[in-house]
């Protein structure tokens, strides 16, 4: 019997079948992308750090980037029996932890991550059902493959299900 919860680390992609849940701890400006096939109850979570793999010298780890991470996740879910056209998405993260006076665009990585994720979802025609992004605080998320609920926990801002 597999573990009930599957832990997803920074720059990792993991999938799970009901009744398992997927958890990723401490999302800052990173984004947790949760995809779900409501019929097969296949879920997947990608913990991406950066918006765009084409800016990178070498992208050994595809899970690190929004554009490639989502595609890896979709492929893995399809191989578990999910149907690509049924997938729905929920995302969380994309905060800005540090605030520098007069900070440049480069530092607003959280916003750029969120934009890149939405763009990739659109390209793949995956519907974004819910999101909890932005702010200046960290999030821990747990995604339930049984019903597609996404639990978002914070240290000072309480918790909610989206």
């Amino acid at each position: 019997m597999a573990d009930e919860t599957v832990k997803v680390g920074m720059a990792e992609v993991k999938t799970a079948l009901a009744p398992q849940s997927l958890i990723t701890i401490g999302l800052g400006s990173c984004i947790g992308i949760c995809l779900w096939d409501p019929v097969k109850k296949v879920g997947g979570l990608a913990h991406i750090m950066l918006p765009d793999s084409t800016q990178s010298r070498k992208s050994i780890n595809k899970a690190k980037f929004a554009d490639t991470g989502i595609r890896v996740l979709v492929d893995e879910m399809v191989s578990l029996g999910a149907n690509k056209t049924r997938l729905v998405a929920k995302i969380a993260g994309g905060a800005q932890m540090f605030n520098f006076p007069g900070s440049s665009n480069v530092m607003r990585i959280g916003d750029r991550n969120a934009e890149a994720v939405k763009k990739s979802l659109k390209e793949l025609s995956i519907r974004l059902k819910a999101e909890d992004t932005g702010g200046n605080f960290g999030r821990t998320i747990e995604f339930f493959t049984e019903n597609g609920d996404l639990l978002v926990k914070t240290i000072n801002k309480g918790q909610k299900i989206i």
Partner: protein
């Protein structure tokens, strides 16, 4: 361009050594600031992949205080100092000269004091780097965040994430009388900087 995983043993040792000296400088500066003796264990420098980095500091959901400074010179880099939140308060008690247990939340005074500590620690760390590389480093004012370790680390690791899956972390244990305070330094050179650093150290 190199990343940490491609360094030779000699290069690794050179980078670790300046980090060790930098952290040693930082402990001395801290000791002078608060007028008390601060001992320090030999710092542990290690190169680890991102998911393991958060384990070194006690897990991604650990509540920590982080101070982050950027250096924009011809060798751009970032320095992050992390300390578990409860230990940060202990630190603040004796920096602010208040009885133990007085500081337990983040008001303006606590934030300002913490950033000053980060300023001094990172400044002396950079001094060591400057001595060895014959460069000047002018750090920004520190930015701080108190939150989950994973969230804070994720944001600063992005800086090097485009070229690397590894980071250099130096674990420092400061000892004030019997109490141990664990603090962590992260040296985050931007892509070209690591190579320039190695050159300046004569191990390119």
């Amino acid at each position: 361009m190199k990343d940490y995983s491609e360094l030779t043993q000699l290069q690794l040792d050179a980078v670790k050594e300046i980090s060790n000296i930098g952290a040693g400088n930082a402990a001395t500066a801290l000791s002078q600031m608060i007028g008390r003796k601060i001992d320090m264990t030999v710092p542990q420098a290690s190169i680890a992949p991102f998911p393991q980095i958060v384990d070194i500091v006690g897990g991604a959901d650990k509540g920590v205080a982080g101070g982050y400074m950027r250096v924009n010179s011809d060798m751009p880099l970032g320095i992050l100092f992390l300390i578990p939140e409860e230990q940060a308060f202990f630190f603040l008690d004796f920096i602010l000269g208040s009885p133990s247990g007085t500081n337990d939340s983040w008001g303006d005074l606590q934030k300002s004091a913490f950033m000053e500590v980060v300023n001094i620690l990172a400044g002396s760390y950079l001094n060591a780097l400057a001595c060895f590389t014959n460069h000047t480093y002018n750090p920004s004012v520190p930015a701080m965040a108190v939150d989950m370790a994973g969230a804070i680390l994720g944001e600063v690791l992005q800086q090097i994430g485009e070229v690397s899956d590894y980071a250099l972390v130096v674990e420092n244990i400061f000892i004030e009388e019997e109490k141990e305070i664990k603090g962590y330094f992260f040296l985050l050179p931007e892509p070209q900087t690591l190579e320039n650093l190695l050159q300046a150290l004569g191990v390119a």
